[in-house]
């Protein structure tokens, strides 16, 4: 990056460090933090959507819909995360290719699963073998987002389901007494009031989601933890311009700072949201705010 970095072996002290920290691998390391944040930004709303759909389905008066909702919540919550991330991703990937295989391949006589091998014709590959590296990364990123959203959606569904049940029955009855239909009660009274009950559970999930992002490497995405391990591992002098010993400790300390900072920032934001949502609610916090407002 800097001109004086051309011959790292002749450098010392801060100059060496400056060059070392601006190598292409280090920029990949810095970029991986952006990837992690991007993943969080995309996954959280998607997981919430999955959760909302799951919870609404579980509450449905139509039995099959309710079964689907409950089944989703129970099945995903019961499977260990690591199994989900190893098995489900492969299953989803192979499932997509198998499905595409049925439509685009000319020769369907060969078995797809054979002798431990999974084989579809080149045209059925997802992404295609000729796809650009960007498409390949986007696809694995998409797989990661989907998997995270399904797993965390199930937990969110359970939280929201509980929150919906926690809204005081009197509130709903009053709405019904005004002549609102089921849907109107759900949309105008239940949903606006349930968030305050859901927030503690959802904030837990958010923090767990932040910590779960290192699972990304299982999905073939080079995340911050991968780069910390790769950059921190000892480098011999033979082939590396910046040889050093085992520096993983320092890199993991940097990760620690990153995760602690993001946890702290989340806490501050969540406290604000809690305050905002408590306003006018029939909860203790809402009541206190009302009294505080009246006194002032």
């Amino acid at each position: 990056m800097f001109e004086f970095c051309a011959d790292p072996r002749s450098l010392e002290g801060l100059q060496w460090l400056g060059c070392y920290l601006t190598t292409a691998t280090h920029f990949s390391f810095y970029w991986s933090f952006v990837i992690v944040l991007l993943l969080l930004a995309v996954t959280a709303p998607l997981a919430l959507a999955f959760g909302f759909a799951g919870a609404s389905a579980a509450r449905s008066h139509v039995l099959p819909v309710s079964w689907i909702g409950r089944g989703y919540i129970a099945a995903v919550r019961g499977v260990p995360d690591i199994v989900f991330f190893l098995f489900f991703v492969i299953a989803l990937d192979q499932g997509l290719e198998w499905f595409k295989h049925l439509f685009v391949c000319d020769d369907l006589s060969q078995p797809v699963w054979n002798n431990g091998e999974f084989r579809v014709c080149p045209a059925a590959k997802v992404p295609l073998g000729t796809a650009s590296p960007f498409i390949v990364s986007a696809y694995s990123f998409g797989l990661a987002v989907t998997t995270f959203a399904i797993v965390f959606g199930a937990f969110a569904a359970n939280v929201l389901y509980g929150a919906m049940n926690a809204v005081p029955r009197a509130q709903l009855e009053t709405a019904e007494a005004y002549g609102m239909s089921h849907r109107q009660v759900f949309r105008r009274v239940l949903v606006p009031q349930m968030w305050i009950y859901a927030l503690p559970g959802l904030s837990n999930l958010w923090l767990i989601l932040i910590k779960a992002t290192p699972l990304l490497f299982l999905l073939g995405i080079k995340d911050a933890v991968y780069w910390a391990r790769e950059l921190g591992s000892a480098k011999t002098s033979g082939n590396n311009p910046y040889p050093h010993g085992d520096w993983r400790l320092f890199y993991f300390l940097a990760l620690l700072v990153f995760y602690l900072v993001s946890t702290r920032v989340s806490e501050i934001v969540l406290t604000r949201i809690t305050r905002r949502l408590s306003r006018g609610q029939a909860t203790r916090a809402g009541e206190e705010m009302r009294k505080g407002g009246a006194a002032a």
Partner: protein, 244 residues
């Protein structure tokens, strides 16, 4: 019926051959000097990356080398995420049950011990570090009275010796020698304890990809014949390395 099957098999082979002009090769990217990430540029480099480029030129294939974790490198080959493995993978009977190998592109390599002191115990009661699912970890597991300590990456096996968790690390000699040389005497190779394991390193392929195997075999043979493979081995492993 038989003819029909044969015909469809030929069609399958034909379409396969066309598509295989472009293939993906997986490597671990953490096994210097076989395959590793270039510190300055972040690109995959090493003996196997150079070798892959040359083999693909000779076999008229368009190749892309991608990185995959060692643990899942064989399952991902089988589920078709890439078409070949070149990751310092020794040819063993165990692996041959699952995948197939091209001809070896390095001679059967020496595995060696590295420890904190030259008089370190590697016999009865010793704790030896090795990378998981490697030919070396398999060897240590069979030694009576020796405890095997497995790690996911080669780097961690060396760290285990440094922090005293293991008495010695057992790995490919070519991997350990530069590390011992750099350590300033903190780590030493245990001379005279080398073990020759496996049938050399080869390209790992799906068992059904017989055509691709033939292409790699031919390319490796031609590199062995004109001496370019030996030159490449010497470039990466030094003049003392074993050659064909």
């Amino acid at each position: 019926m038989k003819k029909l099957l044969l015909a469809s098999a030929l069609v399958a082979l034909g379409s396969g051959a066309f598509a295989q002009d472009s293939i993906k090769i997986a490597t671990e990217g953490a096994y210097e000097p076989y395959n590793y990430i270039d510190q300055a540029t972040g690109k995959l480099v090493g003996f196997e990356i150079d070798l892959a480029a040359e083999l693909c030129t000779r076999a008229a294939l368009t190749c892309e080398v991608i990185q995959n974790e060692w643990d899942s490198i064989i399952p991902n080959l089988q589920s078709g995420n890439y078409d070949a493995i070149m990751a310092g993978m020794s040819i063993t009977d165990e692996r041959k049950k699952v995948i197939t190998f091209s001809d070896n592109y390095t001679p059967p390599s020496k595995s060696a011990y590295m420890a904190a002191a030259a008089d370190a115990n590697i016999g009865e009661g010793a704790v030896i570090a090795a990378q998981v699912s490697t030919i070396q970890s398999g060897f240590i597991a069979e030694q009576a009275g020796v405890t095997l300590l497995e790690f996911a990456s080669p780097d961690e096996t060396v760290a285990a010796v440094k922090n005293g968790e293991a008495d010695a690390v057992f790995a490919d000699k070519d991997y350990l020698v530069p590390i011992a040389g750099d350590s300033g005497g903190a780590l030493v190779m245990l001379d005279g304890q080398d073990v020759a394991l496996g049938g050399g390193i080869g390209v790992g392929l799906r068992q059904s990809d017989t055509e691709l195997k033939a292409k790699f075999d031919a390319a490796i043979q031609s590199m062995k014949a004109d001496g370019s493979l030996n030159a490449l081995i010497e470039k990466y492993f030094g003049p003392e390395a074993e050659k064909f």
